[in-house]
């Protein structure tokens, strides 16, 4: 064996001792090397949240939240429990949850529930929605416009013609689909235009709301909500009949827009800058849905906080469940079923977001701390393996009120060939990306 310090001579019996100590040192080094290799090929993803320092930048787990989506701002945890999300990119085999209570508080029995789904797609389900306001629909010989969420029937073909509509503008729907909107008063010959009527005057688009015309600030804004053929073409004289509101109408909620190299998502009069391409792709958005807009259109919206991978999909997002192909619209922290494809079409003018929701798994926290109360439990994530998105939603339900100190979530990978292959492929892809090498198949 080579000697790094040949000038230092040891006595014979010391040489034996040194030999064995050296062998041990090299074995420890080998074990350390193997440990580093395992950390690279089977990495754990660890998140931590301290209830003592809620706003600390060291918290890698986003702020837990309550049922009404308000964030937790104290360490006192009520019996109702709380929710938290973790988004580890890649696939993991199990998750370990560690919870510590404050020194002066004992931890009651705590159960943790986990499922894999987008946070917004896990919102509680509320009443189904019918067609969107302004949609023109027909059932057999009856023609309707959706006005103030009600289906208002045109009393006769003459009324239809008189108001400037043509039968081709109307979408054929079934009786069942029609029933998802309450029926409103019929529109008779002598009636004026109903609210939610869509109009095109010169090159501008308007919607009638409370008998006031509201202008869409661009053609793109109108097209983000309706088809062009749904608007009836009118002369400029028409603007003298109804007052025109100064408040213009913008893009549909959930529209993706870009200005320069930045991409934004619009919702409820606010514009959220999307922080990185990873967030964009992880949320299931498509690059082709982005509408380039100018500074003037940007100025119409209140610029708010970043839209990160942890931000739930905003109002206006339409999900399609991959389990049963049903459509859902997100509005005010609720998920509304859009009962048919045609109803979904009336709400959706861009690609929908494909979503899955897993079964819920759970575990009971067990004490394992020696010096300080620490509780943990582990859940196997095998049943989530085939679900595409990486968002894990957790719910912590204690049997009683308590004071929390910290929460730790560790995602672990099993040591197997398939995970090793995936890690190697991931490393390979990262190297390819770093050196800009293109591989043609």
């Amino acid at each position: 064996m080579f000697d790094l310090t040949p000038q230092i001579k040891l006595e014979k019996k010391d040489r034996v001792l040194y030999f064995w100590l050296r062998i041990s040192l090299y074995l420890i080094a080998l074990l350390f090397f193997v440990f580093i290799l395992f950390s690279i090929f089977f990495p754990n993803r660890r998140y931590i949240f301290s209830f003592e320092t809620i706003h600390s930048e060291k918290n890698t787990l986003p702020q837990p939240y309550l049922k009404d989506n308000s964030e937790i701002n104290q360490k006192e945890i009520k019996k109702e429990g709380f929710f938290f999300s973790a988004i580890p990119l890649g696939s993991y085999s199990k998750v370990k949850i560690n919870l510590k209570s404050s020194k002066n508080s004992s931890l009651p029995s705590v159960e943790i529930f986990a499922k894999k789904s987008y946070r917004a797609f896990s919102y509680p389900e509320d009443k189904p929605f019918g067609f969107k306001n302004g949609t023109l629909i027909k059932n057999e010989a009856d023609y309707f416009i959706i006005s103030e969420e009600k289906a208002r029937k045109f009393s006769s073909p003459e009324t239809l013609k008189n108001l400037g509509y043509s039968p081709e503008q109307f979408m054929n729907v079934s009786k069942e689909e029609l029933h998802y909107n309450l029926s409103g008063n019929d529109i008779s010959f002598q009636d004026s235009y109903p609210n939610s009527s869509l109009l095109k005057i010169e090159d501008n688009f308007y919607i009638l709301e409370n008998q006031t015309l509201k202008k869409f600030f661009s053609r793109e804004a109108f097209l983000s909500q309706y088809e062009e053929n749904q608007a009836i073409v009118k002369n400029p004289d028409f603007l003298n009949i109804f007052p025109v509101s100064e408040q213009p109408i913008g893009f549909a909620d959930g529209t993706l827009v870009s200005n320069g190299i930045s991409v934004y998502i619009i919702s409820s009069g606010k514009i959220f800058p999307i922080n990185n391409p990873e967030t964009f792709q992880n949320k299931g958005f498509l690059w082709e849905d982005i509408i380039p807009i100018g500074e003037d259109e940007m100025g119409f919206y209140e610029k708010t906080k970043l839209f990160t991978i942890y931000s739930p999909h905003p109002d206006g997002t339409v999900f399609q469940s991959q389990e049963n192909s049903q459509y859902y619209l997100i509005k005010e922290n609720k998920k509304h079923l859009l009962p048919s494809e045609k109803i979904a079409q009336s709400w959706l003018k861009k690609s929908l977001v494909k979503a899955t929701i897993s079964d819920t798994i759970n575990c009971q926290l067990k004490k394992n701390g020696t010096f300080r109360p620490a509780y943990s439990c582990e859940m196997i994530l095998a049943s989530f393996e085939n679900l595409t998105n990486s968002e894990y939603q957790f719910q912590l339900v204690p049997a009683d009120d308590f004071q929390a100190s910290s929460l730790e979530v560790i995602f672990k990978k099993d040591w197997n060939i398939s995970n090793l292959k995936m890690s190697l492929l991931d490393i390979f892809n990262k190297i390819i990306l770093r050196y800009g090498i293109s591989i043609s198949k």
Binding site: L4, T5, Q7, I8, L10, E11, D14, L17, Y18, L21, R22, L25, Y26, A29, F32, F33, I36, S39, I40, P43, I427, K430, I431, R434, Y435
Partner: protein, 132 residues
């Protein structure tokens, strides 16, 4: 008393040799970490902190230095072989070139050349033999 002193000295000698081995292993680990980190930033540092690695390195070198003084070990200076010089230059060039990979090639080579020239002259100034 003398026996105790001799015993301690023997233990120190073994410890010195072991720490030298450890230093070699740690430098090997650091070198390979740097190489891996240069090819794919974050591959090692996301699992093991480099600050900690350097602290361990300095602690090892300090212990070795203190023990060497206690044992009055004098290490004769050896001139660096051509092979070692070539390895060091190749390794440094690789690290510098890789860290500037996103720059255009001409600028990358210019910076690489200037860096190597700076290292060469610094080496000359710091380790020049006193001819006076």
């Amino acid at each position: 008393m003398e026996f105790q002193f001799q015993n301690r000295k023997r233990m120190y000698l073994i410890l010195y040799k072991l720490i030298a081995d450890f230093l070699f292993l740690w430098l090997l680990f650091l070198t390979s970490s740097f190489l891996a980190e240069s090819v794919l930033p974050g591959i090692i540092s996301s699992h093991f902190s480099f600050t900690r690695s350097f602290l361990i390195l300095f602690a090892t070198m300090t212990t070795l230095f203190i023990l060497g003084n206690i044992l009055e070990i004098k290490i004769e200076k050896k001139s660096i072989s051509k092979k070692t010089k070539f390895i060091v230059i190749f390794f440094s060039s690789f690290l510098i070139f890789n860290s500037l990979f996103k720059l255009n090639l001409e600028l990358n080579f210019a910076i690489l050349f200037l860096s190597l020239a700076t290292i060469f002259f610094l080496f000359k100034v710091l380790f020049a033999k006193d001819k006076s």
